[in-house]
Structures are given as structure tokens and as C-alpha cells.
Assembly symmetry: C2
Homo-oligomer: 185 residues x 2
């Protein structure tokens, strides 16, 4: 239904789709990822059946809500992959954490996306994961990261920290630095 490969849809379909995503973005930003789907439909001026026809699950809707921000992050990772591997990875993890802590609902959505078994490029979690893998591998190559650390470890850590500090990017950033540097002197 929300299939990007599908042919041209009717104009009302497209209009409603956009209205739903925009409304969902606003309400998720205000109330978090658990906001009522009924309320999103009401606010968008469509019946709840329409919402469910467009998005098979809450997660599918959230994926679309956060797609732009995640695309921005992906491009940023591309930039960082051109510079110093160590700085690049650290900056990436910091900016990812800050973005997630700043974007209500994103940490929960990224974490939920980790449990879906669709190709990496198809989910927000997958996109972030691919970017992280690239930057971690570059850091590995110059021994800037402990060898026993995996990209998924780092992702779990980032998602955990940003979820625990949702709405407080400064604390999120501080906790991430703590984890990166270690607790002991």
C-alpha cells in the first residue's frame, strides 16, 4: 500500500498520505511515539480506516515520519567518511545521539526497527546501521576502536542512551562521551 514501487496512485490517495505523515510528525513530536493513531487520523481529517489502509502498522508510519531526518543523517555520515576515521566515528555517534535525543519518538522507532527483518536499506534503523558499519570499519582500519566492539554494540548503546534521555540532548551527549571515554581515569 505504501509501496514506493507502486504505479501512480489516485490524487486523493497521495493527498491523504501526505496529510497523515505531516500530522503524525506533529503529534509524535508533541506526544511521543505512543500517540493515538485515532487522533492522528482525526487531526488529519480522514477516517481511521484510511490511516490503516495507508500504514499497515504504527512502525510503518513512524518509518515514514522519520525518513527525512534519517536521510539527513545518512548524508552526514557520507561527509564524515571522508575525514579522519577516529574523529569521524566519534562525531557521527555524537550527532546521531543528539539527533535521536532531540527527535521525540525516534529512539523508540530506531530500536523497534532493529527487530524487523527487512533489508537494511528499507528501515530507518537499517540506514543508520549501514552508515555506522562504514564508519566503524574505517576506524577499525586505523585501530581507533577496540577490536571487540561491533557496530551493533555501538548502535544499541546510542539507541539506549538517546531513549533514556529523550528530550535532553545535552545529557544524552554527556552520557555518550562517558561511554566512549570510559568511566575510570
Amino acid at each position: 500500500m505504501a509501496n514506493p514501487k507502486a504505479g501512480p496512485q489516485r490524487s486523493d490517495w497521495q493527498r491523504n498520505h501526505e496529510r497523515l505523515v505531516a500530522t503524525a510528525a506533529a503529534l509524535v513530536a508533541r506526544d511521543g511515539a505512543q500517540v493515538s493513531l485515532e487522533e492522528i487520523a482525526r487531526e488529519a481529517g480522514v477516517g481511521s480506516a484510511t490511516l490503516h489502509r495507508h500504514f499497515a502498522s504504527r512502525q510503518v508510519l513512524l518509518e515514514e515520519v522519520f525518513r527525512d531526518e534519517v536521510e539527513r543523517l545518512r548524508r552526514r555520515a557520507g561527509e564524515l567518511a571522508g575525514g579522519d576515521p577516529r574523529t569521524g566515528l566519534v562525531t557521527w555517534l555524537e550527532e546521531l545521539t543528539t539527533s535521536a535525543a532531540n527527535t521525540r519518538g525516534l529512539p523508540a522507532s530506531l530500536a523497534a526497527g532493529a527487530d524487523v527483518d527487512s533489508p537494511d536499506g528499507d528501515t530507518c534503523h537499517g540506514i543508520v546501521r549501514e552508515a555506522t558499519v562504514v564508519l566503524v570499519n574505517r576506524a577499525f582500519a586505523v585501530a581507533a576502536v577496540r577490536p571487540e566492539v561491533s557496530p551493533d554494540d555501538l548502535l544499541t548503546l546510542v539507541e539506549a542512551v538517546s531513549r533514556a534521555t529523550e528530550g535532553d540532548p545535552l545529557t544524552a551527549r554527556r552520557l555518550l562521551r562517558l561511554a566512549l571515554d570510559g568511566i575510570c581515569p
Copy 2:
């Protein structure tokens, strides 16, 4: 209602209270902290009104469900406060993380408890927090921890990691060690 200072309650009150906590413990262990309160009441053989009369909120019920495990942890912290400050703190954080990751619903309950403004000794979060403060202060005294690290930072980190790895204590432990030691060599 669930006030421990209250005088002797009627026997049926006490019986139902115990049944509810025991049933809640079983269902939370099976399904997590979001299990339906109606189901707990049904399974315990009481009306849902009775459940709400005994526990003003889900959080109050969870506090009671996890009280024993948290008391066990508190005692363990007391033991650890007698040995080496550095080892004691690290062991404490590891065991706390492992316990939380192993106990379905506990991470969520601890995190939720952080937002309640009741005295530290009254909530599971508060009890864990007091224990952590003691051990962190001992570690501070021998400079075994970076001075900019606060007990609440460590708690947030532990709660975040254990929540993100709920049901997988090995990963929880690995991620905690990572954070304690730092990501880079």
C-alpha cells in the same frame, strides 16, 4: 491503601493483596511491564476494581513486584561497600545490570521510578540510587572514577543498557563493560 503504615487490614484484603502481587510477578515475568492489569486481576481471581483499590497505579504495583529483588540488590551493595572501592563499584554496576536485564519489566520500572518524587528509600529506583551513591562516593575517595561522573549518570546508563538488552544479560554485561572501559584502546 497499599500503605505499609496502615493498621491491620482484613484478612481478605491481605489475601487478595498477596495474590495480586504474586500473579503480577508471574505475568510481568512472562509478558513484560505492559501486561494488562485486567488480565492480572482475572488471573488472580479478583475484580479489576479490587486491583485498582490495592494499587493506585501500575507503577505502584510494579514497585511491590520488584521489591524483593531490589532488597536483595541493596544487601549486595552493603557487602560490596566493605571491600575495594574500585572493584566494588564495577561489580555493583555489573550485577545491577545483569539483574535488571534478567528481570523482565525491572528496567522500565526503575526508569519510571526516577520520575516519581517520593523519598529515595520508598521506590525501587530510590533504593538502587542510594546504594549507587554510596559506592560511587567510595570510588571517588580513591580517585577510581572520573570526577565528572555522577551516580545518576551511571544509573541512567545502567537502566538504558538493561532496558535495551532486556532478556539478554550477556549482551547487557558486555555493553556495560564497554561503557566502563571506553570504546577506544
